[in-house]
Symmetry: T
Subunit: 158 residues, 12 copies
C-alpha cells in the first residue's frame, strides 16, 4: 500500500481544482475556514508533491463551466487523477459529477471545514458517491492528506 | 398535423443547444451514453433539417450562463423554436427554465439515456414542466425524433 | 442508426396499446388532449407503419388485466416491440410494469399531454424506469414519433 | 336552491355506481360498515329518487375497468350526473378520475364509513379534488344525502 | 333509518356553529363561496329545522376560544348534536377538536367549497377524524344536507 | 400447535390465488423468479395438500376484480383460509385488502422473490398488515411453507 | 411608479395591524427585536404617513379573532390597503389569510427580524403567498418601507 | 439543589396557566384525562404552594390571546415563573411560545396524559424547546411535580 | 434610525447586482414581471441614490461565476453593502451565498414578483437566511425600497 | 392522590437505571449536564427514597444488553416500578422498549437536560410512548421528581 | 426443490439465534406473543431438526455484540446457514446486517408476530433486504417453517 | 501546521478504536472491503505511529458498550485523541456520540469503503457532525491518513 520508492520515470501528473470562493481563503470569514491563504495551501501542496514525486497543475475558478472544462481536458493533458475541493458546487452541481464520470479519472474530494457540522444543505455532495476518497475537516491539511491518499491509491493500483 | 410540403419562404430557424459534458460524447463512459460523437449527432441533425427544410444553429456549452444568453438571443436571431438537451443543468438550473420562460419560444427537451433508470436526482428536470415535448432514452435518435416533433408542432400551429 | 432499407422479409410486428379512457379522445375534455380521435391516431399510425414497413396490432382497453394479458401474449404472436400509452395506469400499475418485465420486449412509452405540467401524481410512471424510450407532450404526434423511435431502435439492434 | 317543483318533462337521469366489495355490505365485517345490505341501500335510493322525480341506473362492480366504461357511456345514455361510492378504488385509481374528467359530468362522491378515522391511506381519494360534492360517514344515509345534494345541484344549475 | 314521525316530546336541540370569516359570506370573494349570505343560510337552516322538528341555536364567531366555549356549554343547554363549519380553524385548531372530544356530542362537519380542490393545507382538518359525518362542496346546501344527516343519525340512534 | 392427526371429517378447504403475471412463471425473466412453472408449483401444492389432508381450489388471474370476486365467494364455497401470492397487486390494491377484510378469512401472503431486495415500491404491501402469516423469498417453496403454516394455524385454532 | 404629488382629495386610508406580542417590543428580548418600542414605531409610521399624505388606523392585538374582525371591517371604514405584521399568527393562522382573501384588499406583510434565520417553523407564513408585497428583516424600518411600498402600489394602480 | 429553608421575605410569586378545555376536566372524557376536576387540581396546587411557601395566581382560558396577555403581564405582577399546561395550544401556538420568549421567565410545561401515546400531532409542542422543565403523563400529579420542580429551580438559581 | 443628514464626506458606495435573465425585463413575459425594463429600473435606482447621496455600481450577469467574482471584489472597491436580485440563482446557488458570507458585507435581497405565489421551488432562497433585509413582490419598486432600507441600515449602524 | 402514610408492610421496591455515559456526569461536558455527579444524584435519590419509604436498586450501564437484562429480572426481584434515564439509548433502542413491554412494569422516563432543545434526533424516544410518566430538563432534580411521581402513581393505584 | 432423502454424511449444521427479550417468551405480554416459552420453541426446533437430519446450535442473547460475535464464528464452526429472529435488533442494528454480510452465510429471518400490524418502526428491518427467506406472523411456528425453508434451500442448492 | 520535530517529552498517546465486524477484515466479503486484515492495518498504524513519535492503544470490539467505556476511560489513561472507525455503529449509535462528547477529546472518524456509494442508511453517521476530521474510502490507507491528520491537528494546536 505504500508508494513505490523507485523511479523518476513514474512521474504522476495530477490536477488540483479549487472551487468557488476558495480564492478568498484567509482574507475573509476566518471563523469558518481559518486564516490560511490559498497561496500557502498551494505552496504546501507543491512541497508535498515534490516529496511524493508527482507533478501538480493547480487552478481555482468561480465558474462551474470552467471547472467542468478543466476536468474534461485532464486526460488529454496526461493527468492521472484529480484532487478537488468543489466547495459550494459540490452541493449543487450535477454537471461537475458528470464531468468526473465522463473522464473516468480517480479523484479525491476534500473540504477544509467539517461540512457535517454546518447547514443541512452542506451535508451531501453530488461528488461523494463517486469519489475514490474523501477528506473532511482538517483545514488546509485536508488537501495534503487528500493528495497523499490519491497518490498512494494511484501507485498501489487499487 | 403533417408539415406543409409547400414553400421555400417558410424556412424555419431553430436553435439546437447541447448542455454540459455533451462535447465528451463518444469519447468517454460509453456504457451510459453509447459511442456516438457529438459531431455525428450534429451531422444527422443537419441532414434531417435539410429534409425537413429547417435551418439549425447548433451550440454546445459547459456554461450555464452561456446557454442562458444563447436562449435570450434566439428571438432576435429569428429563431422559432429550441431543441435542447440540458444534460445535468436540466436537474439543477432554474435559470435555464427562466430563460426559456422569458423568450417564450416553444422548445423540446431531449435526453440520450433514460434518466428515469439512473440516480433519483436525474428523474426530475426543471424544464420538463414547461416543455412543448420531451424525448427520452433513444440515444442519439432522441435528437432526431425531437427535431421532427418540434418542426411538426411549429408547422401545425399546435 | 438508420433503419435498413432492404427487404420484405424483415417485416417487424409491433403491438400498440392504448390504456384507459383513450377511447374517449376527441370526444371529451379537448382542453387537455385536443380534439383528435383515437381512430385518426390509429389511421396515422397505420400509415406510418406502412411507410416503415412494420405490422401493427392495435388495442385499447380500460382493463388493467386485459392490457397485462395482451402484453403476455405478445411474444407468442411474434411481436418484437410494444408502443404503449399507459394513460392513468402508468401512474398506478406495478402489474403492467411486471408484465413488460416478464416478456422482456423493448417498449416505448408515449403520452399525449405533458404529464409534468399536470398534477404531481402524474409526474411519475412505473413504466418509465424500464422503457426503451419515452415520448411526451406532442399530442397525437407522440405516437408517431414513438413508433418511429421504436422501429429504428429495433432495426439498429441498439 | 330548492328543486323546481314543476314538471314531468324535467326528468333527470342519474347513474349510481358502487365500487369494489360493496356487494358484500351487510354480509361481512359489520363492525366497520354496519349491517345494511346493498339491496336495501338501493331500495332507499329508488324511493328517494321517486320522491325527487329522478331516474336512477344503479350498478356495482369489482372491476376498475367496468366502472370506467360505465362512466364513459353515461353521456350517451342521457345521464346528467353520477353518484359514486368508489370504495377502495377512490384511493388508488387515477383512471377512474380520468374517466370522470373525460365525460365532464358533475358527480358526488360518497363513503359509508368515516375514511378519515381509518388507515392513513384512506384519508385521500383521487376523486375528491374534482367532485361536485362529498358526503362521508353517515352510513347508508351518505347515499341518500349525496343523491339529494346532486339533484339539487343539477336543478339549481349551480 | 328514517326519522320517527311521531311526537312533539322528541324535540331535538342542535347547535349550529359558523367559524371564522363566514360572516363575510356573500359580501366578498364570491368566486370561491358564491353569493349566498350567512343570513340566508340560517333562514334555510331554520326552515329545514322546522320541517324536521328540531330546534337550532346558531352562532358565528371569529374567535377560536368562543367556539370552544360554545361547544363546552352545549351539553348543559340540552344540545344533542352539533353542526359545524369550522372554516379555517378546521385546519389549524387542535383545541376545537379537543372541545368536541370533551363534550362527546355527535357532530357533523360541513364545508361550502370543495376543500380538496383548494390549497394543500386545506385538504386535512383536525375535526374530520372524529366527526359523525362530513359534507363538502355543495355550497350553502352543505349545511342543509349536514343538518338532515345529523338529525337522522341522532333519531336512528346510530 | 401441531395439527390434529385424526380424522377424515375434518377436511379443510383452502383457496390458492396467484396474482397477475404469475402465469408467466418459468417462461420469462428467470433471473428474478427462477425457472419453475406455475403448473409445477400447483402440482407441488396439490401433493402437499394431500399429505396435509386439505382440499385446494387454485386460480390465477391478471384481473384485480376477478381476484376480489374469488375472495368474496370463498366463504360460500366452504373455504376456511386463503393462500395468496398477490404479486404486483399487493403493492397497489386496497380493494384486495378490503375483499380479504370483508370475508374475514385467515390468509397467508407469499412472495417468490425477496421483495425487500427489489425496488422500494415493492417493500410494502397492503395485505401484510392484516395477514395471518407471511412467507417471502423461498422461491416456489414459499407456497409450500405458506400452505403448511396456514393449515397448522387453522388446525391449531390459533 | 412615483406617488402623485397633487391633491388633498386623494387621501388614502390604510390600516396598520400589529399581531401578537408586538406590544412587548422594546420591553423584552432585545437580542431578537432590538429595543425600539411599538409606540416609537407608530410615531414613525404616522410621521411618514403625513409625508405621504395617507391616513392610518393602527391597532395591536394578541387575539387572532380580533385581527380577523378588524380586517373584515376595513372595507366599510374606507380602508384601501393593509400593512400587517402578523407576527406568530403569520405561521399558524389560515383564518387570517381567509380574512384578507375575503375583503380582497391589497396588503403588505412586514417582519422586524429575518424570519429565515430563525427556527424552521418561522420560514413560511400563510399570508406570504397572497401578499402584495413583503418586507423582512429591517427592524422597525420594515414598517416604513412596507408603508411606502403599499402607498406607491395603491397610487400607481399596479 | 434543595430549596432554602429560611425566610418569609423570599416569597415567590408564580403564575399557573391552564389552557383550553381544561375547565372540562372531570366532567367529560374520563377515559383520557381521569375524573379529577380542575378545582381539585387547583386546591392541591394551593396546598403544595403553601407547603413550599410560594404564592400562586391561577387562571384557565380557552382563548389563545388571553393566555398570551396573562403571560405578558406576569413580570409587572412580580411573577418569577410560570407553570403552564398549554393543552391543545401547545401543539399549534407559536404566539404562546413568543409570549414566553418575550417575558423571558422560566416556565415548566405540564401535561396530564402522555402526549406521546396519543395522535402524532400531539407528540410535539412549540413550548417544549424553550421550557425549563417538562412533566408529562402523571395525571393531576403532573402539576404538583411541575410546581415542585419549578420552585426548586428558581430557589436553586439554576 | 433615520439617515444622518450631514455631510458629503460620508458617501456610501453600494453594489447593485441583477441576476440571470433580468436583462430580459420588459421584453418578455410581462404577465409575470410587468413591462418595466432593466434600464428604467437602473435609472430610478440612480435617481434615488442621488437623493440618498450614495454611489451605485450596477451590473447584470447571467453567469453565476461572474456574480461571485463581483461580490468578492466589492470590499476592495470600497463597497459597503450589496443590493442583489439573485433571480433564479437565489434558489440554486450555494456558491453565491458563500461569496456573500466570505466578504461579510451587509446585503439586501430583492425580488420583483412574489416568489411565494409561484412554483414551490421558488419559495426558498439560499440567500434569505443571511440577508440583512428582504423585499419581495413590489415589482420594480422592490429595488427602490431595498436600496432605501440598505442605506438606512448602513447609516444607522444597525 | 397523596401516598398513604401508614405502614411498614407496604415497602415498595423500585429499580433505578442510568443509561450510557451517565457515569461521566459531573466529570465532563458541564455546559450540557451541569456538574452534579452520579454519586450525588444517587445519594439524593436514596434520601428521598427513605423519606418516601421505598427501597431502591440502582445501576448504571453502558451496555444496552445489560439494561435489558436488568429490566427482565426486575419482576423476579420484587420490583414494582422502574425509574429510568435511558440517555442515548432512549433514541435508538427498540429492544429497551421491548424489555419494558415484556415485564409490563410501570416506569418513569427522566432526562437531565431538555432533549427538545438539543439535536433533532434527541426529540423522540422509543420509551416515551409507553411510559407512565416523563420528566425532562430539571437537571438532577428530574430524578427526584420522577421518583416522587412514580411512587405516588404506584401507591394511588392509578 | 425437495430435500434429498439420502444420506447421513450430508449432516447440515445450522445456527439458531434468538434476539433480545425472546428469553421472556411465554412469561410476559402474552397478548402479543402468545404463551409459548422459548424452551418449547427450542424443543420443537430440535425435533424438526432431527426429522430433517440437521444439527442445531441454539443461542439467545440480549447483547447486540454477542449476536454479532456468534455470527462471525459460525463459519469456523462448520455452520452452513443461520435461522435468526433478530427481534428488536432487526429494526435498529446495521452491525447485525454487517455481520451476516461478512460471513456470507444464507440466513432466514423469522418473526413471531406480524411486524406489519404493529408500530411503524417495526415495519422495516435491516436484515430483510439480504435474507434468503423471511417468515412472519405464524407465532412459534414461524421458526419451524423458517427452519424447513432454510434446510430445503441449502439442500436444493438454490 | 507541520508537527514539531523536537522532543521526546512530547509523546502523544492516542487511542485507535475499530468498531463491529472489523475483526473480520480480509477474511470475508473482499469485494467491499478488500483483503487486508485488521492485523496488517494495525501493523501499518504502529509503524506510522513510530515514525510520527506517538503511542497507540488499539482495540476492536463488537460491543457498543465496550467502545463507550473505552472512550470514557481514555482521558484517565492520558490519551489526547481518538482515531475511530465506528463501522456500523456510526450509523446507529447516539451513545457513541455522547461518549465522545463527554470526554471532549478530538477524534478522527475513518471508513474503509466509500459510505456514500453504499446503501442510503450508510450516508450519515452520528459522529460526523462532531468529528475533528473525517477520512473515507481509501481502504486501509484511511487509517494512516486519519492518524497523520489527527497527530498534525493535535501538534499544531488547531
Amino acid at each position: 500500500m505504500l508508494p513505490d520508492a523507485t523511479g523518476g520515470t513514474n512521474l504522476l501528473k495530477l490536477m488540483v481544482l479549487h472551487g468557488p470562493n476558495l480564492n478568498m481563503l484567509g482574507k475573509r470569514e476566518p471563523s469558518v475556514y481559518g486564516n490560511v491563504t490559498l497561496d500557502s495551501i498551494n505552496e504546501n501542496l507543491r512541497a508535498l508533491a515534490e516529496e511524493l514525486r508527482v507533478e501538480l497543475s493547480i487552478t481555482q475558478s468561480n465558474h462551474e463551466g470552467e471547472l467542468i472544462t478543466l476536468i474534461q481536458e485532464a486526460p488529454d493533458r496526461g493527468v492521472s487523477g484529480v484532487l478537488i475541493n468543489p466547495a459550494a458546487y459540490g452541493h449543487t452541481s450535477v454537471a461537475l459529477r458528470d464531468a468526473l464520470l465522463a473522464v473516468g479519472l480517480p479523484f479525491v474530494e476534500v473540504h477544509l471545514s467539517n461540512i457535517h457540522s454546518r447547514e443541512p444543505f452542506r451535508h451531501q455532495t453530488y461528488l461523494a458517491g463517486i469519489a475514490s476518497g474523501i477528506v473532511i475537516g482538517f483545514g488546509a491539511n485536508s488537501y495534503l492528506l487528500g493528495l497523499r491518499g490519491l497518490v498512494e491509491k494511484l501507485r498501489s493500483g487499487a
